[in-house]
Amino acid sequence: MNLTLKIWRQKDSNAKGQMVDYKVTEISEHMSFLEMMDVLNEQLVGKGEEPVAFDHDCREGICGMCSMYINGEAHGPDRGITTCQLHMRMFKDGDTITIEPFRAAAFPVIKDLVVDRGAFDRIQHAGGYISVNTSGNTQDANAIPISKHAADEAMDAATCIGCGACVATCKNSSAMLFVGAKVSQYALLPQGQVEAADRVQNMVAQMDLEGFGNCTNTGACEVECPKGISLDNIARMNRELMKAAVK
């Protein structure tokens, strides 16, 4: 198929960006979206032009690098996937596709489609861990049984890949789904209880400091999350916050 691409080009974080039109031809429906981008870039390099910069690494939906806002949706059409898992069979010949970076005040653009998600790391520094030494002198792994239900639920929360689609999708650029997922993982496990109150307070404080917006419960984040992180995690985080406040 032949396509028109409208892509955000921005030289660096200080430059003013703009949308630029490109054409690609003979795109196979079996290609992944990023393979289509490779074709475009190979074309640009061939002409001595700078290729479009975009983040990507694993190309199998797990590293959370690829962050494209395609036709007005984080990770494009199709549900439960990242941009690298999006396939061209979702598009048809003659389509025009708009490609922008994930946008949020807390995610400044580095170049073209590449953004800085360091804010996510800093939220994790504030409390995204259990204070246990890595010395190997811990108790036996089976010493504390954990109900399968709690373990599975913790696992579901822990599958967040830190991609930032939730933030990019939210009209307030809220990071509640991301933070809620981490808080929930630990809140659901006995090992996480000891520091639960400090953790949630510190992580939320850092989230506010980074300039993420408030949550107004539109639920858009849940729809676009490639890993199906549910809104329950936000509710759980709010409960944890309340518990922490009365402590």
Binding site: V39, G64, G118, Q124, G128, Q139, S147, K148
Partner: protein
């Protein structure tokens, strides 16, 4: 220099414990004055950085991604081994040790493997304490699954995302130390050289990938945990950015490179679909617990399937060849990876491949769905359950076990694997070869360490499933933090290492020269053009089977390609900015050197062992034939061009395991 593996004396059971008891330690107050650089934040680097910081050293950690959490370890699916024997099925430290040495086709160092098996149980305790949500059974205890090449169930897992959960565990441990200021994290930084002062590793030169700035960083010791070099094949299951650069640069500065030809080609990956393909996707080995591998028995069925006149489900049991179950009744579908991959290639080469390219076999879950369905019907007291009901119940179980893998498959291939068997084919996945290290995980350069997949490691000529994660975390949490102390105990009075020296200056200068060359060379071909060409040579001539003539051709072709690369490569954009093509150019330049050494290593190793299959050396049944005289590690010393590399041998001695013909029949 003669190779000294520094394996401590004494019975294998006591070596590590005795050694730890006698090793020199650095007192906590002195650790504050010692800096350590860790390149890589995967399971190996991440766990090492966190532990070293926790011990009190000042750590500087580097990763090319935008966060430590995105290291390639994140993609590991299936699980991690540990000799916990929670299933009471006869597992033990010795058995894990034995399985690993045998699985590696008797080409690994006994003492290292035993230590790995020994600390494996600590890893699980540690990870659970960190909040890693491993799968559990209904009683609340940890669950296990089986992986290939073993007869016990010792693999711990977190759905199909074990690597992700373990890495997030190590990342969380790092975060705790970053918050305390004990780890300084350099994201989006690429190490481009190591700096050696008075014979010791004392720092690195790194490029800030956002600004393009070239930076000097000093330390008292340098640890490389930069992952494997599977991307030398261009197409592999590795992440796009995975590279050999850090490992190769230290090789060029004196670290020997061991067994480059030992590569793992994983049997269950999604077959390639076209020339535009940028990477291959693994379908976890755990699928072989329940999936049965087959091709049609008759060539006319193959033809009908390829032409779309028949579906695989149309073929009756008698018309299918479950070739692994046929050839290896004892292990069946759970033979080790090298054996399973070669068997698939053998069938496809004979014309039985089931897709258009002739390079695919089936992985079929119908039997498992039926078996689980019947079991569930019984558990739920459903009498005379209909076929449809059984199928529905069984599908639920399979979905719970492998749901995310099935979904991944469906998204890529656009076929529903619950209804029609998956198509799979082997793909490059892991590199057993790597930087040579001694028992302390130190390379041949003092103060320079190498951990995780980047070292030549504990897996010999073939790695067993779920053992890479184990090795990475063992190295980083439990081995290196001890052994490095012994070395650093001499450095307590050294004081900060200055970067204002001629050694740093020279290293920086040469890095800058290469970069300037790339951005100014007005060549006519893209970096990917060369990478793809290299990949094709590697796959065709250094792939699942190798022979003398092919390897000789490969050496010549890679050498020619390298020359062309340095003439014709084109890198748009500048050096002092974000420039992905520039980063790629440096990586491909190193792959072009490694590739040639790889072929040379494969040529010299005139035997078949594990993943290295020389057509000249096979049994009448087509199995790998090892040679006693090759019972050594090939450690290559850099001497300029790869063709001039000098071979050093570390003889392998087996005192605790009898070296036997590896049989899975």
């Amino acid at each position: 220099m003669a190779l000294d593996s520094k394996v401590p004396k004494g019975p294998i059971k006591d070596k590590w414990t005795d050694y730890k008891n006698k090793i020199n330690l650095v007192n906590p107050a002195n650790k504050r004055h010692i800096d350590v650089i860790v390149v890589g934040t995967g399971l190996a680097g991440g766990s090492a950085a966190a532990t070293l910081a926790e011990l009190g050293y000042n750590v500087k950690a580097f990763a090319y991604q935008d966060s430590p959490r995105r290291a390639h370890s994140i993609a590991a699916q299936g699980g991690i081994n540990a000799a916990k024997n929670y299933q009471g099925d006869g597992d033990s430290t010795y058995r894990l040790f034995y399985d690993t040495v045998k699985g590696g086709d008797y080409r690994s160092r006994e003492a290292n493997v035993y230590r790995l098996a020994e600390v494996s149980t600590n890893i699980i305790d540690q990870c659970v304490a960190q909040g890693v949500p491993f799968a559990r059974d209904y009683g609340g205890l940890l669950d296990n699954r089986s992986f290939g090449g073993v007869l016990v169930s010792r693999t711990f897992y977190a759905k199909g995302q074990t690597g992700q959960q373990l890495l997030l565990g190590a990342y969380s441990a790092m975060n705790r130390q970053i918050a305390r200021g004990k780890i300084e994290m350099f994201n989006r930084h690429e190490m481009l050289d190591v700096v050696i002062v008075d014979g010791k590793a004392r720092g690195i030169i790194a490029r800030n990938l956002v600004t393009g700035e070239i930076e000097r960083h000093s330390a008292h010791a340098v640890v490389i945990g930069s992952g494997g070099y599977g991307n030398v094949y261009f197409l592999s299951t590795n992440a796009m950015g995975s590279n050999v650069t850090a490992a190769w640069k230290i090789h060029k500065k004196g670290a020997y490179f061991a067994n480059p030809c030992y590569t793992q080609i994983h049997p269950t990956c999604i077959p390639r679909s076209g020339d535009y393909q940028s990477k291959l996707t693994l379908m976890s080995e755990s699928l072989r617990n329940d999936g049965r591998i087959w091709v049609p028995k008759h060539l006319d069925d193959v033809k009908a399937i390829r032409e779309g006149q028949k579906k695989p489900t149309d073929l009756s049991e008698e018309d299918r060849d479950y070739y692994l179950e046929r050839r290896y009744p004892a292990f069946g579908n759970l033979v080790p990876r090298d054996v399973a991959s070669r068997a698939a290639k053998e069938r496809c080469d004979a014309g039985y491949g089931v897709n258009a390219t002739g390079e695919a076999v089936y992985l079929d879950f119908a039997a498992a769905i039926e078996r689980y369905g019947k079991e569930q019907a019984k558990i739920n007291n459903i009498e005379n359950a209909s076929e449809a009901k059984i199928y529905e119940l069984g599908q639920k179980i399979v979905e719970a076990k492998y749901g995310n893998l099935f979904q991944m498959y469906e998204k890529i291939v656009d076929e529903n694997p619950y209804e029609t068997p998956m198509m799979i084919y082997p793909a490059v996945h892991y590199t057993m070869g790597g930087v040579w290290v001694d028992y302390n995980l130190m390379t041949t350069v003092p103060g320079l360490y190498c951990i995780g997949e980047a070292n030549f490691s504990d897996h010999g000529a073939n790695r067993l499933g779920a053992s890479a994660l184990m090795q990475g975390l063992a190295d980083g949490y439990f081995v290196l933090p001890y052994t490095i102390g012994d070395y650093l105990s001499d450095d307590i009075r050294t004081g900060e290492i200055s970067t204002d020296t001629k050694e740093f200056e020279e290293a920086e200068k040469s890095v800058k020269e290469t970069i300037n060359f790339f951005v100014n060379n007005k060549g006519s071909k893209s970096v990917d053009h060369f990478h793809k060409k290299l990949g094709k040579i590697m796959w065709d001539k250094c792939g699942m089977s190798r022979n003398e003539q092919g390897l000789k051709e490969a050496i010549q072709e890679i050498s020619d390609l390298r020359k062309e690369f340095w003439k014709e490569v084109s890198v748009p954009g500048g050096s002092e900015e974000y420039n992905e093509e520039l980063a790629k150019a440096g990586r491909v330049a190193d792959f072009l050197e490694l590739g040639e050494l790889f072929a040379k290593d494969a040529l010299v190793r005139e035997e078949s062992a594990g993943g290295h299959f020389r057509e000249e050396h096979q049994t009448p049944e087509g199995e790998a034939k090892r040679m006693k005289e090759f019972q050594f590690v090939s450690a290559w010393e850099y001497k300029g061009e790869p063709k001039d590399a000098v071979l050093h041998k570390e003889e392998l001695v087996y005192e605790n395991i009898e070296v036997k013909e590896r049989s899975y029949k």
